[in-house]
């Protein structure tokens, strides 16, 4: 059981489990607002398909470079956190990101920190995340008056590295988890039932979207991370205007 590939498979299954207490179920990534803005659209299913495709592509273009940067340079997590914060000028998206980032730190501290793999990269990542936890607790602003925020994307990358996941698997996992969260939100928002949701999740179409995005965004520097579906920003931002809400984003 000590061979590295089974250890990384084990970690992969843990991190892809929807029972991982990240609270992802509380966020719809703009879907609820999107549906609110498209009340009268009769082709709801088709509209959802387009939403999901754009949502995956947009999360990939805005966050995946940060996931991989956190994976590659866990010692720079604090700077990466600042840059991600500076690049997310949407209150609702920040709330979702910080909420899940803090949850991940708690899981790290209470559960995962003791189960890292022994390679040098993994140990550097583990140290990086643990340092971040300590710094985030003291929460002293830096010389520019900025605080640590604990955004999800870079921390997720570093945690995956500490648990021995390969970079490509980390990227795929990040996007698939996002797709799962949006699909589960769609079921709860009554876009369709659980079977249809699983069918979409299993489809080659969705695999294609995820693979295309991973290919496109891997190797991109964080300073080139960009919004590729600007309407997502609008829907996310306008989530606060919904009369009634079941999600936090």
């Amino acid at each position: 059981m000590n061979n590295p590939s089974s250890a990384s498979l084990h970690a992969l299954l843990l991190l892809s489990d929807s029972a991982l207490p990240l609270g992802s179920f509380a966020f719809s990534s703009g879907l609820e607002s999107f549906l609110g803005h498209h009340k009268h659209s009769n082709a709801r299913l088709q509209a959802f398909d387009g939403f999901l495709e754009n949502s995956i592509a947009n999360v990939a273009s805005t966050a995946l470079p940060y996931v991989l940067n956190g994976y590659d340079e866990p010692e720079a997590l604090q700077d990466i956190d600042n840059d991600f914060d500076a690049s997310t000028p949407c209150t609702v998206a920040r709330r979702a990101s910080v909420g899940q980032g803090r949850a991940l730190l708690a899981i790290w501290e209470k559960a995962l920190a003791s189960s890292t793999v022994s390679t040098a990269e993994a140990q550097t990542a583990a140290t990086g995340v643990s340092d971040f936890v300590t710094k985030a607790k003291t929460s002293k602003p830096d010389a520019f008056g900025m605080n640590l925020n604990a955004h999800f994307a870079p921390l997720f990358g570093a945690v995956c590295c500490a648990l021995g996941l390969a970079a490509h698997d980390t990227a795929y996992l990040f996007l698939l988890n996002h797709a799962k969260a949006v699909l589960s939100a769609a079921v709860r928002a009554s876009v369709f039932g659980p079977y249809q949701s699983q069918a979409t999740l299993a489809s080659t179409k969705l695999q294609q979207w995820v693979n295309d995005s991973v290919r496109r965004e891997s190797g991109k520097e964080v300073l080139d991370a960009a919004v590729t579906a600007p309407t997502m920003d609008l829907w996310m931002g306008r989530h606060e205007l919904l009369y009634s809400r079941i999600f936090n984003s």
Binding site: A86, T91, A226, G237, R238, Y243
Partner: protein, 331 residues
Amino acid sequence: MSNPFLSTKAKAGSGSIHLALLPPNTPRLRTLNYQYPLKLVSPAAARAGDDLVHTVYLLTYGGGLVAGDSIDLSIGLETQTKLILLTQGSTKLFKAPSRDVISKQCMTVALEPGAALCYLPDPVQPFERSCFEQQQLYNVALPIVEGSKTGSLCVLDWVSNGRPANGEDWSFFRYSSKSEIFLCQPDDKKRLLLRDNILLDDHEKPESIAARMDGLAVFGTLIIYGPLFRQLGQFFVDEFKVLPRIGGRNWDSNSDSGEDEIDPAVSRRLERQRQETEDRVLWSAAAVRGCVVVKFGAREVEGGRRWLKHMLSEDGTIRAQFGERALLCLR
């Protein structure tokens, strides 16, 4: 060794603007250089309140950028100076022979403490098969004396779907625009304060950008930063908070309010909100890291322009601090 003839050899498309503060307190346009295809025109400075405000028009020959053109503008604003940047009509982006011929526009602004920039241009208008990248870099110097004021920015970045009359609808190859604000300490240490980066690439699938834009014909970002624009930023945030709820029922019927006189500001707001619905303007405002970032989209460019003009006029900061001229592109 420095070359005294440097300016004649300057790169095509480069330019620089430097606004200096002469003692005791007079702002003066010290430098205004430009190379073809860039052209800078500066009308006489005008007074706004107690301040002398300079204006520069950013122009290009032909009203736009041909494939492969590269503009590189650097701007320096000394302490207490105020600059308005304007365009004359939308910046047209002409067709590129292929995807790898990219036209570029780069603007770097250094803002000393207390200086202010108001940049409300016309939208960028990318034609079919065009390819464009632009970058706006704002370096805001932090004051040496703690508690004194930093520079201020009110900058707009917006793009339209092209020429709808010719059947264009986000039909370009690629458009990208990045705005960054860095805070700079006297010892040259820098920290990223804000980055707004948008990239629209068709990935060789025609009409894929239009599908992503969901019927919008224009999309923009307004960034507001600094002490001079605090009220303006707050205005956007407050107006966003009181927008009508989506999916809510309107329980007030106007007849039973009992008050015959409605506050004129409230009735202007209601009129604006009615116009927003008619023009299908969607917008949001967020206060983050000392900036206010406003994102908006509209079904037509004119609707977006009308909305922005109304918001900026209603607040009044721009007019009071920079004068009517600053709003010229929104007419």
